[in-house]
């Protein structure tokens, strides 16, 4: 496929606001996880929380969109000079030629939870406006409106692969000529639905999560936002690129992955084919690595079945928690930071690798030149997406 240049990117999560906070944490092994202290939640678990969102209401022309999820999106957009970069892109392409592709799993559902909690005999409060908050499209409409764009846009919601798939969608819209450049991103925020929902499935860990560890026992839920500007390559670009993507379905079970990871393997294979790369060309794999027993076993099977057991791998869920619909963009941007910095991050909190799992999990970080990094994102419904990013030429 024609590579797409990723000319600007930013991310915000429990590690802090902006790229530098995440990179510093990946370099030093600092986790952003903390014991769960979210209001109205009484669960013994750890979370990856972004501080201060409660005091950051959306105001002015975006005030209608006010909810935790869109606040997090706004906070994310404000980092790393991303807004001026979008303004420059608008000058180059026009506001109607820049598409917006946003992934989210639960959007602003926390607002609906609050409306139900505060309902009375007459029903939900009159000021409840789910089209601006809870609705899946609220996130893409908010980003489009907030950036002053008026071209094509979509909101993708395929659980934990949502904001990986935005890269594939943006590539196709650019190739089809629907837009000339794309803002891709993802945002998901802490809410009771996912905390108590994953808890009901016995998938929430009471400790910091331990991907691939013999003692792993579930996920920590996190929140995050990330955005990237994709453009057709120009001569002399000195930025990383999207060079491959693969999308597949397990066609197996709603919440349990295929035991041999057949769908995950198909997604990785497709990504390699599009990138015209061999497995040996991949220098590092950022795993989906949620730290549930079955997810890690399935992904291990898929990765080792395709790559063997030598390719360096790690899960970065121990840094941020599982940011669900924002996991794809979060880990894609980690991949870009790793390419730029020559960093192979450790699988934080993994102490002893499960003997039944064979992937080459990095218990300590390494530093060396990287050319190609693969990032995996898999979601409920058996929805898989793998992306390959290449270093600047």
């Amino acid at each position: 496929m024609t590579p797409l240049s990723i000319t600007h990117f930013t991310l915000t999560n429990a590690l802090g606001c902006g790229k530098q906070a995440s990179l510093e944490a990946l370099r030093t092994g600092r986790s952003g996880l903390q014991p769960c202290d979210l209001e109205n939640v009484d669960l013994a678990t750890w979370i990856g929380r972004v501080g201060g969102l409660e005091e950051m209401p959306l105001e002015g022309r975006v005030a209608d969109y006010d909810c935790r999820n869109n606040r997090l999106a706004q906070l994310g957009l404000q980092q790393d000079e991303f807004l001026p970069a979008v303004d420059q892109a608008v000058q180059r392409y026009g506001a109607d030629r820049i598409g917006v592709f946003i992934g989210t799993s639960t959007s602003g559902i926390a607002t609906t939870e609050t409306a139900y909690r505060t309902r009375d005999e007459s029903g939900l409060p009159a000021e409840f406006t789910p089209r601006f908050t809870h609705n899946i499209a609220s996130s893409s409409h908010f980003v489009r409106h907030s950036l002053g764009l008026n071209g094509a846009a979509i909101a993708i919601s395929t659980a934990c692969s949502s904001s990986a798939k935005v890269f594939a969608a943006a590539y196709r819209y650019i190739m089809a000529g629907v837009c000339d450049a794309a803002i891709v991103g993802g945002v998901d925020s802490l809410c009771l639905t996912t905390l108590y929902g994953f808890n009901a499935l016995d998938l929430v860990s009471a400790e910091p999560c331990r991907p691939w560890d013999a003692q792993r026992n579930g996920i920590n839920i996190g929140e995050g936002a990330g955005f990237a500007l994709l453009e057709k390559p120009q001569n002399g670009d000195s930025c990383p690129s999207l060079i491959g993507y693969g999308e597949s379905s397990d066609a197996h079970h709603m919440s349990t992955p295929h035991p041999e990871g057949a769908g995950a393997r198909l997604a990785m294979q497709q990504a390699l084919e599009r990138a015209a790369l061999e497995t040996s060309d991949i220098d590092y794999i950022n795993l989906h690595g949620t730290a549930t027993r079955s997810n890690d076993a399935s992904e291990d099977s898929a990765v080792c079945g395709l790559f063997g057991d030598q390719t360096p791998c790690s899960s970065t869920k121990g840094f941020t928690g599982h940011t669900l619909g924002a996991a794809g963009i979060t880990e894609s941007i980690f991949a870009l930071l790793c390419l730029q910095d020559g960093l192979l991050p450790q699988s934080l909190q993994t102490r002893q690798q499960d003997e039944s799992l064979s992937a080459n999990i990095l218990l300590d970080r390494q530093q060396r030149e990287l050319r190609h990094v693969l990032s995996n994102s898999f979601g409920f419904g058996g929805n898989n997406c793998s992306l390959i990013f290449g270093a600047a030429a």
Binding site: I136, N150, A152, G197, D202, M254
Partner: protein
């Protein structure tokens, strides 16, 4: 501009069992009479799965199944599922459970609460292992789904199943969401085709008002659910007429469909 073909259609609404019935209604002189929703029994679900699924999942799968009758190339088939609100019954039950002592959220309801649950059940039932995208686009959900499916089909050169579906909200959410009727439309789309019902050319347009239907009850049905915004396009297909259809897509942007019968 993006050009593609509509090969097959599936449709479920109150008083309309399938595309054949919809086609007769849309061709004829009589206005829509409403009626009962047909029984939702998609055969791709095993009986135990059917019990665990909801009316939202079932209406989507029933339309999908009709659009894929006779189609045998599922290993190459990608899919796009689009719905304004997803499964509001489940959202309602989870949000109610979250207000109760002990927060008794049902594990099955939680995994069915993801926006891509109908797509997940469909891929399991159809054995379809290609990529699947689930979108939400408020009143522009049909246009957003059509655009996404068209772009996938043309760029990847694959057949794509598009399913757009709605169920009206449960009591507590009724006054907050503008959906009053159940409706599901499915289309099998392909870039090039020997057996097309119609050719579509898609483009976006900043101005213009959305296409309406002249018969009052059909127009009311069009406005009753975001997926039913497809009706003006379906009417042109049913009547084998060339048409310029304007679909609501995004704030300040419509999707313009130039339709040629085949």
């Amino acid at each position: 501009m993006i050009s593609l073909s509509v090969e097959k259609i599936g449709l479920v609404a109150q008083g309309i069992n399938n595309w054949q019935e919809a086609s007769v209604l849309l061709q004829g002189e009589a206005d829509y009479q409403g009626g009962e929703l047909p029984p939702l029994k998609p055969s791709m679900l095993k009986p135990n799965e059917r019990r665990r699924t909801t009316r939202t999942i079932k209406i989507a799968l029933q339309a999908a199944e009709e659009a894929l009758q006779g189609f045998t190339n599922s290993e190459r088939l990608a899919s796009v599922f689009s719905s304004s609100e997803g499964d509001l019954d489940i959202i309602d039950q989870i949000c109610l459970a979250l207000t109760e002592e002990g927060r008794p959220v049902s594990p099955t309801q939680f995994h069915n609460s993801v926006h891509n649950a109908p797509a997940g059940y469909w891929s399991i039932g159809a054995g379809a292992r290609q990529g699947s995208s689930s979108l939400g686009g408020l009143n522009g959900s049909f246009a957003a789904g059509l655009m996404e499916a068209a772009v996938q089909s043309v760029v990847e050169q694959i057949p794509v199943l598009l399913v757009c579906y709605d169920q009206p909200p449960p009591e507590l959410l009724k006054s907050f969401m503008p959906i009053s009727e159940p409706f599901a439309i499915a289309m099998l789309l392909n870039g090039e085709s020997d057996s097309a019902l119609a050719r579509l050319n898609l483009d976006t347009q900043a101005d213009g008002s959305e296409s309406q239907l002249s018969k009052p009850a059909l127009e009311k049905l069009r406005q009753s659910a975001p997926s039913a915004r497809s009706l003006p396009m379906l009417q042109a297909i049913a009547r084998h007429q060339s048409a310029q259809i304007t679909l609501p897509y995004l704030p300040g942007l419509n999707l313009q469909v130039e339709l040629q019968p085949c």
